[in-house]
Symmetry: C2
Subunit: 465 residues, 2 copies
Amino acid sequence: MDRCLAADTIKNIDTEVTLLGWVDTIRSHGKIAFIDLRDRSGLVQCVDTSGKISAGNEDVIKITGLVKKRPEKMINLKIPSGTVEVSIKSFEILTKSKELPFAIDCDGYDINEEIRMKYRYLDIRRLRITRNLKIRSQVTTFIRNFLTKRDFAEIETPMLTKTTPEGARDFIVPSRLQKGKFYALPQSPQQYKQLLMVAGIERYFQIVRCFRDEDPRADRAYGEFTQLDLEMSFVNQEDIMRLTEEMFTKLVAEIFPEKHILISPWPRLSHKEVMEKYKTDKPDLRKNKTDKNELAFSWTIDFPLFTEQSKEDFYHGSGKAKFAPSHHMFAAPHPDDIPLLSSDPMKVRGLQHDLVLNGYEVGGGSMRIHEKELQEKIFDLIGFTDKQKMQFEHILTAFTFGVPPHGGIAPGIDRFLMAALGEPSVREVMAFPTSSSGQTAVMDAPSNVTEEQLKELEIKIVSAK
Amino acid sequence: MDRCLAADTIKNIDTEVTLLGWVDTIRSHGKIAFIDLRDRSGLVQCVDTSGKISAGNEDVIKITGLVKKRPEKMINLKIPSGTVEVSIKSFEILTKSKELPFAIDCDGYDINEEIRMKYRYLDIRRLRITRNLKIRSQVTTFIRNFLTKRDFAEIETPMLTKTTPEGARDFIVPSRLQKGKFYALPQSPQQYKQLLMVAGIERYFQIVRCFRDEDPRADRAYGEFTQLDLEMSFVNQEDIMRLTEEMFTKLVAEIFPEKHILISPWPRLSHKEVMEKYKTDKPDLRKNKTDKNELAFSWTIDFPLFTEQSKEDFYHGSGKAKFAPSHHMFAAPHPDDIPLLSSDPMKVRGLQHDLVLNGYEVGGGSMRIHEKELQEKIFDLIGFTDKQKMQFEHILTAFTFGVPPHGGIAPGIDRFLMAALGEPSVREVMAFPTSSSGQTAVMDAPSNVTEEQLKELEIKIVSAK
């Protein structure tokens, strides 16, 4: 279809154009009516003098008309096409809209979130959400180009994989072909990316969905989230931190030019130091916390490799040991501290690095263990049973075939965007987020399945509500 | 770490460099030994004259040495660094490798696939698979840049969503927060992308994982596959086909310069025509089917909107109707044929387009229905019960709020790569594919879960093997 976007009208003065979009507003003044047509590029004012046009807000319309310069005093500097208007020659309503359940010409924070999520496809029409989603797309495009230019390959890893005691609760998926058995959705591609290092890929990344059946928080959506998963061989911690810093610095300059990074190079603070000084491992180093354009990145390093196991800890009761990994069980200990693993494990430092932005942990990573015996020692220290160790047999086997030293990081895309955009919740930067009770936006899930589905999988609901 | 890649040695003649990688081969001739070091950039020959070096294939090594030009008659034109060699000054084994379970210096087609998949991280080291995965990364990068430059936004849609009778068998995921209920993994983001059109996004794409619990074939992996999901508003079928054709034509020119597209513009063949002439709706139009560099794209169009329901059909028994959608239930009928929906539905043509490459269906799409009443009529014709219709209530509701005309296409990434690379199976272009019995590569899944996991979800295995 030959079509002119609203924003392109200014390039088509004295030309007849066809516009397609939504009625943003319509104002009638007797015989003259003004329609603001909205499309993906923005708004343009269209003028009808026939007195015959009748339309409602959010109707989808087609307008053919002549683009004219506006008289000086009618110029509207608030919209990019504010120097022109379109004199309507023909007008057609393609589809009608019922009255919307809420206003979309506002930021929407005050509207009940349940209603916003039920009609999320209307909520997205609001400028703020459309903008957030488009910026999200720009951010992931930037990251992909930055990394592929540096010889990284994006490699997709499986979503149907194996349940392993990795630190959070798995979502499980019953198998039809092997009845009584289950897949698990990945908590992260941690093991696959380490296997890709064994495979000689050397520089891997993936912008990937991860799944954890854990309670949601403002900075963590229920169920699924997206992370930039990144792993490199033949590097040290310095290389990983330097690459990450360069990437986000260039990203901010290109996509958020109005924002400034407060301190460069980013401060690197030891875990001990931040806990003493800020009582948190993710300090908010902004000078002015109300300045939406201030970005304070920092690194927290020198974490203890272990924390003490508590009853809340995932590994509690899995053995007699009292140590839980402070990040995860694949993080490498500081080489100087290896002897302490036997004598005083709580004193062992890990080669871990947390990326902090404005008080949020937006990424974590580490150098990984690449020695079979050392990995087995860590499994023992966190109290794995022989059965639990067996669940990781594939990675211990992989380590016997020439494994390169490797490490990486995994910044959270949702959380970075939330922090960078100053949004109060990750749900504001996701297209169709779930609610805190696990309810999906728009579609009414989770939902009942049919008896046939359960029968085919040979599972049964024990006590459905 | 300061490191020189194998391929970069030719830029560092008479310079001392440090190389990191794997022992590809080692050949000892008395006091002189030749080690081919392999890293992500390729191979370089390193020479030891100390007589002290001992290493095994696939050990991970660090070599420091002087890059020297090779004498004319020693030049090896088979490798990019074949004009130089590295005279070893220091040599270190970083990690040892056991003997590999299979050879990796061959294409690997003759090796038992089960073993290849068990040690997939070693199988990937084989040049062919590494290359396939890197080309895959280039292809998705190209597509993303092509589309974002044309004003498309990549928007992520949920993986935990609702089970709906869409045409294939769902994978379902028990909900812990709402016991007795289930999420489904998406068969495709079909409904979400249509909702994004209602949301005014206008140009959406996503390279996205899709899930179908269906029997695998050579051109379809079990369980999960990746598609380029693409949807546009205010377009017609011509716009969609033209954009797709431009994208793949430029992609082939950039990423597969050795290949040529046989016929341009791509032939558009009606369903009737291809079925009569080729007895298939995905004809292989290559002139020379043994020429690996010949790519014959074509479109199959003018599909009948319905096929007759059979017992194998997903919708069989869901009502008294005898019609099944030939693509899916959201495909729009040809506007001229609307009256036939009441009088003779089997004669209705759909606005559908299948993308065919070398005899494979590498993509399908259509203009969509965007009228509530018409969508309801289709639901009736395929025999949906009121309960089944209710499962789609959200999309019918969305259509009442100003829906733009829209359509799209969804080329399969795995299948396109398989066809373009001339591979015999999609598993050759995936990093960690599942076997036909649903067994995952490397990790032993599906697997047993603990009693605690089942108890927490309030489900029970009825008759495990």
